[in-house]
């Protein structure tokens, strides 16, 4: 198991390097000009100076290696210094600088991260908590009215894109009923009970939209996995031993059915970050997705490069976690 994990981690390094190269090349080959949005009155020589100050006149391989060094060596060292308080003598270390704001990209990401984590993380947990009982019960009562209704609702949740469900809940709950605000206020700070209520109120709509999608995906998996297990021999044995129905289902079957579902949950984490781009846009949540869209529209290549790469790292990492979890949870799986 350990050797498998180490081998996969080593495999991940060339994969990630290759992905970062692909992202870099796509961004670089694209005919976009970071000075294109500046006023037209700027003379060409000043424009060339600006490009030089952004480091754009270096050849492409130098820029790529520089980014690699900044992202993989300098930023972790800075983080290490920040955490431990030690001084490793890094005053001349260059950082990945955003072209739009001229501040380090990693700092901006750290600033935006809490918003995304709050909304998306809550939605993911809520979605899972709703999905599991639905999946369990509809598999246990297969073809019952509950199962039919549950299947239909998950199908609907599967099919409604977040940009429609988001707008729909805004129409219903924010415009017509006026229960919740339609825009997520990022500057809001939780200090006492009342502000906590406001925070919860503004989180409800985006969380609802994201949770609908997550619920429908996971409850379908849970149901299918439960159905696979319910017809197995060990279930009949457990019943024949005289165990109560609740023990058979909730202890024996659910535990075994959770194995594939947990890997699906792990695999879904990076997807939720990606899917949150649209939900963040609909509710104006000032998170990572919002940052990415703004950076893309502004031609801010370092920010786009770093963010996309972080998404890629998340995908590779959670793939690895899912595989390892599968091996730990299921004794039949042997990777050696």
């Amino acid at each position: 198991m350990l050797t498998f994990t180490i081998r996969r981690l080593l495999m991940a390094i060339p994969t990630l390097l290759f992905i970062s190269l692909i992202i870099f090349l796509i961004l670089d080959l694209a005919p976009s000009d970071p000075t294109g949005s500046l006023p037209l009155t700027i003379p060409p020589e000043v424009r060339a100076d600006i490009r030089a100050s952004l480091g754009l006149d270096e050849p492409i391989h130098i820029r790529f290696l520089l980014w690699l060094q900044q992202f993989f060596v300098n930023e972790p060292l800075n983080l290490f210094e920040h955490w431990t308080g030690w001084d490793l003598g890094g005053e001349d270390r260059t950082r990945v600088i955003s072209w739009q704001t001229r501040s380090p990209v990693v700092d901006i990401i750290a600033e935006r991260m809490p918003q995304t984590l709050w909304v998306v993380g809550t939605a993911y947990i809520v979605g899972i908590l709703i999905a599991l009982p639905i999946g369990i019960y509809s598999a246990y009562k297969q073809y019952s009215v509950f199962d039919q209704a549950g299947t239909f609702i998950t199908m609907v949740g599967f099919s409604i894109p977040p940009f429609f469900s988001g707008v729909l809940v805004i129409v219903i709950f924010a415009v017509q009923l006026q229960w919740f605000p339609s825009v997520y206020d990022t500057t809001h700070e939780v200090t006492d009970w009342d502000s906590l209520v406001i925070q919860l109120k503004q989180m409800i709509l985006p969380v609802m939209v994201l949770a609908l999608q997550i619920t429908s995906q996971i409850s379908r998996f849970m149901r299918a996995s439960m159905l696979d297990n319910l017809s197995q021999d060990y279930v009949r044995t457990a019943r024949a031993k005289g165990l109560t129905e609740s023990v058979v289902v909730l202890v024996h079957v659910v535990r075994n059915s959770m194995i594939p579902v947990i890997t699906v949950i792990a695999l879904g984490v990076p997807q939720v970050f990606g899917g949150a781009i649209i939900t963040e846009q609909v509710f104006k949540v000032n998170g990572l997705g919002h940052l990415l869209i703004g950076a893309i529209q502004g031609g801010d290549i370092p920010t786009v490069q770093t963010l996309t790469f972080i998404f890629a790292v998340l995908i590779v990492l959670f793939n690895l976690i899912a595989d390892v979890l599968y091996g730990i949870l299921d004794p039949r799986i042997r990777y050696d």
């Binding site: 694209a30 894109p161 940009f163 429609f164 998404f311 995908i315």
Partner: protein
């Protein structure tokens, strides 16, 4: 005489095409049947609808702007007085065309990679690493980046509409072939060990004929299922791009674009958001149900049960 007719009936039954069995099984799935009916209805609505509803989707009647539903405009009009029903038909044509072509592209690439990887052992490792690599790419951010950056040159060389159509179909197709490739590869690997393949090889069938004649027809069912699901994801991805303002321009509407344009008039005319949204959701829902039914119908273990 009666024996003869029953015998005839039996031989007739035996010669029955297997697609009739598939259809019989498909018919038992209520949701899939309704889904198929609705999808055909949507196709008729967007392709033959303009013959009945002859208002031009680009016709601007500024005096009739922002109207609610009426007999003259059953779905109201937008802020320039363009008829929403006609725009919904025009948008649906683009959305469905994008969905079908992108799905076709993804299917061709996915099947090709899957069959080659499964059949030729030497290429398996390389191609599957490539598939894993594509699966590890963050799709939506990359789509946004690619479209943002390559939109203008393509527009300049192919015209505003064809250029953006080619770009969107290409990026959706090129980023969604991986699941098909994986499924097809797994099936091909299993098929390769079967006796009929061995028999075909022993009479000297060359590889290309082997793939076309023996392998491909047998992996058709997973390909068809991923095709239907591919249409659904392609339509949703295209709408998402249009919704983020990075898809088709406003005078060349798609359902996603109509929804995006409608959000600015949400308080005044909420139906401008609801109609395109419903069109996207119901089409995707029906396609998903068709895929569900096809999966059951094409599985010989379930069929006839």
């Amino acid at each position: 005489m009666t024996e003869l007719t029953t015998l005839e009936a039996q031989t007739y039954q035996k010669q029955r095409n297997q697609w009739w069995d598939v259809w019989d099984q498909f018919k038992t799935h209520k949701g899939a049947l309704i889904g198929a009916g609705f999808f055909i209805f949507v196709l008729l609505f967007v392709y033959l609808g303009p013959l009945v509803w002859s208002i031009d989707s680009q016709y601007i009647d500024i005096r009739a702007r922002n109207q609610g539903p009426s007999w003259a405009h059953p779905m109201g009009t937008d802020q320039l007085g363009r008829d929403m029903l006609a725009r919904l038909m025009a948008g649906g044509r683009t959305s469905i065309a994008v969905g079908l072509t992108a799905m076709g592209l993804a299917l061709i690439v996915g099947t090709f990679v899957g069959v080659i990887a499964g059949y030729f052992r030497r290429l398996d490792g390389v191609l599957m690493r490539l598939t894993d690599l594509f699966l590890a790419l963050p799709i939506l951010p990359l789509l946004l980046v690619i479209i943002m950056l390559f939109r203008d040159p393509l527009r300049a060389s192919f015209g505003p509409e064809a250029g953006i159509f080619i770009l969107i179909v290409f990026v959706i197709g090129i980023t969604s072939w991986m699941p098909t490739a994986r499924i097809v590869r797994g099936d091909v690997l299993a098929l390769k060990e079967r006796e009929f393949v061995l028999a075909a090889r022993s009479i000297g069938t060359p590889p290309h004929r082997m793939v076309l004649r023996h392998i491909l027809p047998n992996v058709l069912s997973p390909i068809m299922v991923s095709a239907t699901l591919g249409i659904a994801t392609a339509i949703i991805t295209e709408s998402a791009l249009s919704f983020l303002g990075l898809g088709f321009p406003s005078d060349f509407p798609t359902w996603g674009r109509l929804l995006f344009d409608g959000t600015d008039w949400l308080q005044r005319n909420p139906e401008r958001v609801i109609w395109p949204g419903l069109a996207i959701s119901l089409t995707v829902l029906s396609v998903n149900y068709i895929g569900d039914g096809l999966r059951d119908a094409l599985d010989p273990r379930i069929r006839g049960r």
